[in-house]
Symmetry: C2
């Protein structure tokens, strides 16, 4: 188990990409792959790959490469994909509905248990068989149901308030789509998807390229 | 102008966050702020902030701090927020519709000009006054309209094909929501939003925290 400790944030950020490529290899019935071949597909250097995969066990064998199935299973383990997570969505607007409808998450083991919104027009609406509830019920709901991940899709001004209620009820994971930095206790994990910031990064990089070409 | 060159990728990734906090300060009528005060708000160290902001001009004055308005204007410039970008969305499913409905992007200068889909049930649908067109029209549309950014919201298996058509028609920016790594020429910028990978990162980090607590 020692090998599994101290996986750096940088490696953790790369793991989902390994997962994606290894799943594709499995689907194509590839049994084993060298770090060099994997490197050509995934775009990381072969030495980077060897270093990353060494963090959590001895899967590579000199002259043989990696056993795709074993490696895949181990990465699934580390990513927590062998578990099921109970999730709720708070905010049933555009993004909240898109996430609720994104059926892949269910396949990956993220089970949508409830959706909440403040808007009377949305309350009662069914999305993927889950009925949107009044956000006033959220505290009581969380007291009676074990939820692992709260998905926050409310406007910025309400995000911290929603976060506080979720965290108070022992939910340890927050997937945050509101464009704010949430204040949370140390034992809670927040993963942000800040769409505006992503779009601004794109426009900034486009400017830089244009500047380079003009010069 | 020299100061503006060579802004590192790390700084570019932080700029949208500076933008967000500085806009808030402007709204609250704050005229100036020291790197220390900004540090407390934004969470980067004061020395990091001084170093970042030094990249593109002399906005800080010893004992005075930063002029919020000037700094904000300069960051808007670098982010390309003083321009308007013509955008199209390809794929009018859950995510495509959510992006089309996200009115903030229009406010930021990202102008949605057209939406395309392959699904006859979606063709003709109006989203924010933009009618969903048959994806078969995209090549012709792009030949006749100057578009800056293509937003790809199609399933993985069609993403590269859509990307190729967009790029062939001199669109230099791609905002990609499909869970694939697109192959693009050097002068094109891709910014990926890989939602599944973000969710897997969250579950992985939650596992790590749990492991730490069990030990």
């Amino acid at each position: 188990m020692d090998k599994k400790k101290n996986i750096s944030m940088a490696v953790i950020r790369r793991l989902p990409k390994y997962h994606r490529y290894l799943e594709e290899l499995l689907k194509s019935d590839v049994d084993r792959i060298s770090s060099k071949e994997l490197s050509e597909k995934i775009g990381f250097t072969a030495s980077q790959i060897r270093q990353d995969l060494n963090c959590f066990g001895d899967f590579g064998q000199q002259g043989y490469g990696y056993n795709v199935k074993d490696l895949c299973r181990e990465i699934d383990n580390i990513l927590g994909l062998t578990k099921t997570y109970n999730t709720i969505i708070v905010g049933a607007g555009n993004i909240g509905q898109a996430i609720a409808n994104y059926i892949n998450f269910q396949k990956m083991g993220f089970d949508l248990k409830a959706i909440f919104d403040i808007n009377p027009k949305l309350i009662g609406l069914k999305i993927q068989d889950v009925e949107v509830q009044d956000v006033d019920n959220i505290d009581k709901y969380l007291q009676n149901n074990r939820i692992d991940i709260g998905i926050i899709c409310v406007p910025s001004k309400n995000a911290q308030k929603v976060c506080d209620i979720i965290v108070k009820n022992n939910v340890n994971g927050i997937w945050n789509f509101a464009p704010v930095d949430l204040l949370i206790p140390e034992n809670v994990i927040v993963e942000n998807v800040h769409l505006s910031e992503s779009l601004l990064t794109l426009s900034c990089l486009m400017q830089e390229v244009n500047k380079g070409q003009e010069e």
